[in-house]
Amino acid sequence: MKKAITMEVNGASCQVEVEPWRTLLEVVREELDLTGAKLGCDIQVCGACTLLVDGKPVSACSVLAVDADGHRVTTVEGLADGDRLHPLQEAFMKHGALQCGYCTSGFLLTAKAMLDENPRPDDEQIKSYMGGSFCRCGCYQEIMQAIRSVAQA
């Protein structure tokens, strides 16, 4: 008993039939082939699976796809404008805010949501907003620098 849901994903409307128990992460990765978001912990703590739903960060590993029915979803694949990288992507590149890249999609999207809410966060605000994402390669210092550089631009 699949259910048809409609979401706006990265600006384009899309319809998928999903079983009611499928997570948003599974559907985005497996049905829509948008694999930028990763499964890291499966219990809403690591941030690797973060997607934006109506502009707000959610842990897609712990959200049912059916609950995203009728909502707007942004994935890392939707950040760049054609060939032009998003300023956060540019900053991550410039400051070296990634190594293995497994956490990158989550950090970029969370940072985007934060800056959309508050374009001028201070360090403490950045640390608290971004506190729900882990980078195991240890790029925190570079991530701070990258986000700061966009926030101050």
């Binding site: 890291g40 190594q99 999609s105 980078c135 195991r136 240890g138 701070m144």
Partner: protein
């Protein structure tokens, strides 16, 4: 970052993998689609130690969508496979055959059309266990009446050369016992004015690469098999699979996509043998992706118990060091014997002891297998050695920096093995870190009077795996661009960029002309492993040699074509120069082939040995990596709460190849070290792991970071490294924990000897005063 002058093709912020990784388009293992693939699920032991009496899969086979179930019957009577494997000893089986030896030990596996069906079926498999008492601590495990984890251990015919002398001790849980001796320890202690003895403990931890392990195996109609795997050493895995499945290595093809972190967790066979066995039985491609919980059961970092005794002369000269190091290798040897050996080499730290007696034992317990972890045994021995150095300094009323400088290795000093040490910038590292930490000045007074601050230092020396092999090839195309064939696995450390930069710099072409294929064992030449901080030094050198091979071929063409003596040609800036002329690579190729087209192949190989080929001297390590770290901490006197305010890390990198990659490795390693120092530990209760998830196993997050982590690359070139470069992947992690514990003692006079350094331990320590 300050860098010495050098031709540099890799600019700041330029990495070959960034475009793909930043746009979500880099394909990691779990992102790949494969038509017709079955999903695999593993049934794991719920108990730490038990005989497996029978396994009944009949109910599982009835679940719709199930394609195959793999149990011990398949291992024992199955398809003519060799049941036992393992990198050092053959003590592992694809699924448990006689006993389960830790919670999470694989007992059976199911392949099905969907993951749900596979998991449902796995849960319907009935297993009868006959419980045995588990041994969960090395101190219990080495007791004479301890229950045995392995009744017998099989030794492979062709093991690693550096571990050949190590054998399990029969009828004990001691997997290996490595002895290192120098001088006469008793005489040494007798000659000392002071003798110190302490015990240090480190808990089991886990790498937590954000990407869990995974593997896809697909047999071809002609009997060959393709695997995609999250492995750091595909060639070692290939050898192990060839032995298990009795196939020539040429029929096993392993491809490795980008890894989402490794840190040692992805070396040696992990889920590959089971995935391949299941695919063989299912006659379908099979994919197994481990859950986070399963990763905790797959590999860990060795817990350790270390007794350290040090004799010091009246003037502070380090004279005699005795250490007994027990490393908890868990249920299987894995690479534990080498971890213990490496730990032993550096249990005397980077200091000039005359008399040394080290006993490093790798010990079986009923915990998940412990394996390689960034720091590889040295973060364990350095925790003990560098903590004790400060204990000694305090007792002798000496400055810990001065005391270290008095005893630390210099160029040409004799190592504990008797060999001489060269290219050893440890003094320089310590000096630079001390300067960065404003050593000698008291810490700035905190505004809040309930807080106190302190500073601490630590230094280290570590070996790299020796002997080892790296082979490389590069292909020069008709337009002058280059394809690089290397088995170094890009797992975040920036190796693709470093390798491409070495090729570009050697040929004198720009970095954007160079592409790195990625790992495919059918195509790329052999490399032992992407670990032990060895890739830049070994593979980088092989690629430098491959590039020089190409240069020579190009010069030869020009020399023949234009009839100039070979010696009068040279290569510079991507051009062959001779007489007054300069031909670019493209023209040389065009002239040689007579048309646009053709390929030139350059080859390079590096094989290291335990004898220096130039001098005939013994070399335990093809290069030594050294460094130092310093921490400043602030402690809340009311609660013991600790904050690291600043950390500086100086690493002898030999030569910076890619400035960004270098910075990332230094800072990233230090952050991993902070997790180990402050938070991380796997906790067992009655043989059950209580925190195999990322809520209860605490990782460092952005908010835990110091205000500043300062990377300081120190360049003491090595004669055999590409452009003088050495490995840098592990160094910065090692001094973090002892430098923090030393800073804590400096601040509140509390000595923590068991990791992690928690607020509770500090608080209780302050209460005791």
């Amino acid at each position: 970052m300050a860098i010495s002058e050098r031709p540099l093709s890799a600019q700041d912020g330029q990495r070959l993998d960034y475009q793909a990784k930043l746009t979500g388009r880099a394909a990691y293992l779990a992102d790949m689609k494969m038509p017709g693939v079955c999903e695999g699920a593993v049934l794991r032991s719920p108990v730490a130690h038990a005989w497996v009496r029978y396994v009944d899969a009949s109910e599982a086979l009835k679940v719709p969508g199930v394609v195959a179930v793999y149990t011990k019957d398949d291992v024992v009577q199955g398809t003519g496979i060799e049941p036992y494997y393992g990198p050092v000893f053959k003590d592992q089986t694809i699924v448990a055959v006689d006993k389960v030896r830790h919670v999470g030990d694989p007992v059976a596996a199911v392949a099905a059309e969907t993951r749900e069906a596979a998991e449902e079926a796995a849960n319907l498999i009935v297993v009868e266990y006959e419980d045995l008492p588990p041994v969960m601590d090395v101190r219990d495990s080495v007791k004479e009446d301890a229950v045995l984890v392995h009744e017998t251990v099989r030794i492979p015919e062709h093991g690693f050369a550096d571990l050949a002398e190590l054998k399990p001790i029969e009828n004990t849980n001691v997997c290996t016992h490595f002895k290192l001796r120098k001088g006469d320890i008793e005489q040494g202690f007798a000659e000392c004015a002071h003798v110190f003895e302490d015990t240090f403990i480190l808990p089991t931890t886990q790498h937590v690469a954000l990407e869990p392990h995974g593997c896809v195996a697909a047999f071809q109609p002609d009997g060959r098999v393709n695997l995609w795997s999250t492995t750091q050493n595909p060639f070692v895995v290939r050898t192990q699979l060839a032995n298990i499945f009795k196939m020539p290595v040429s029929k096993i093809r392993i491809m490795v996509p980008y890894l989402g972190g490794g840190y040692g967790s992805k070396v040696y066979p992990k889920i590959e043998p089971l995935t391949m066995a299941l695919a063989q039985k299912a006659k379908r491609p099979v994919r197994i992706l481990l859950s986070r919980e399963e990763v905790f059961y797959t590999v860990t970092k060795h817990a350790a118990f270390i007794r350290m005794k040090t004799g010091v002369k009246a003037d502070g000269t380090f004279h005699a060091r005795e250490a007994e190091v027990f490393l908890d290798t868990g249920a299987f040897a894995e690479i534990g014997p080498r971890v213990a050996k490496k730990s032993a080499y550096t249990a005397a730290g980077p200091y000039k002891f005359k008399h040394v007696k080290i006993d490093a034992k790798s010990v079986y317990t009923n915990k998940p297998p412990a394996g390689a972890f960034r720091g590889f045994g040295v973060s364990q021995s350095a925790w003990a050695s560098e903590s004790q150095t400060d204990i000694i300094a305090k007792a002798l009323n000496r400055d810990p920096y001065e005391l270290r400088m008095q005893n630390i290795y210099d160029e040409g000093d004799e190592f504990v093995t008797g060999e001489k040490l060269w290219s050893i910038g440890v003094k320089d590292c310590l000096e630079k870190v001390a300067k960065e930490m404003k050593w000698g000045e008291p810490p700035e007074a905190p505004a809040d009077p309930s807080k106190v601050r302190g500073k601490g230092l630590a230094a280290l020396i570590k070996a790299t795996i020796t002997p080892s092999i790296s082979c490389a090839a590069i292909k020069l195309n008709e337009d002058g661009s280059v394809n690089v064939f290397t088995s170094t696995v890009e797992m975040g450390q920036g190796s693709d960029t470093a390798m491409a930069a070495i090729v570009a710099d050697t040929l004198g072409i720009s970095l954007d002309q160079v592409s790195v294929l990625g790992v495919d064992t059918d195509v790329v030449p052999y490399d032992l492993t992407t670990s032990s901080s060895r890739s830049t030094f070994h593979m980088g050198k092989a690629l430098e040699l491959a590039s020089l091979d190409l240069c020579e071929q190009l010069r030869r063409f020009v020399s023949e074509e234009y009839e100039v003596p070979f010696e009068e040609t040279r290569m510079e800036g991507g051009k062959v120069l001779f007489r007054e002329s300069a031909l670019d690579i493209r023209e040389v190729l065009f002239n040689h082939f007579g048309m646009q087209g053709g390929t030139l192949v350059g080859r390079g190989e590096v094989k290291t040995s335990t004898v220096d080929p130039d001098t005939g001297d013994k070399t335990t390590s093809s290069f030594w990596f050294v460094g130092a770290g310093g921490s400043e901490v602030e402690i809340d006197k009311d609660t013991g709460r600790l904050r690291v305010l600043k950390h500086a890390t100086a690493v002898d990198v030999g030569r910076v190849i890619t400035p960004l990659g270098c910075q990332q490795q230094l800072v990233g390693g230090a952050i991993t070290g902070m997790g180990q120092a402050l938070f991380e530990q796997m906790v067992w209760d009655n043989g059950i792991l209580v925190n195999p998830n990322l809520v209860d196993y605490v990782l460092p997050a952005l908010g835990d970071m110091p205000d500043e982590i300062t990377p300081i690359p120190v360049e003491v070139p090595h004669k055999n490294g590409p452009f003088g470069a050495k490995g840098i992947g592990e160094t910065s992690l090692i001094p973090v924990a002892p430098s923090i514990a030393n800073a804590v003692d400096d601040a509140v006079d509390v000595r923590i000897k068991d990791l992690p350094v928690t607020a509770e331990k500090i608080f209780l320590g302050m209460l005791d005063k």
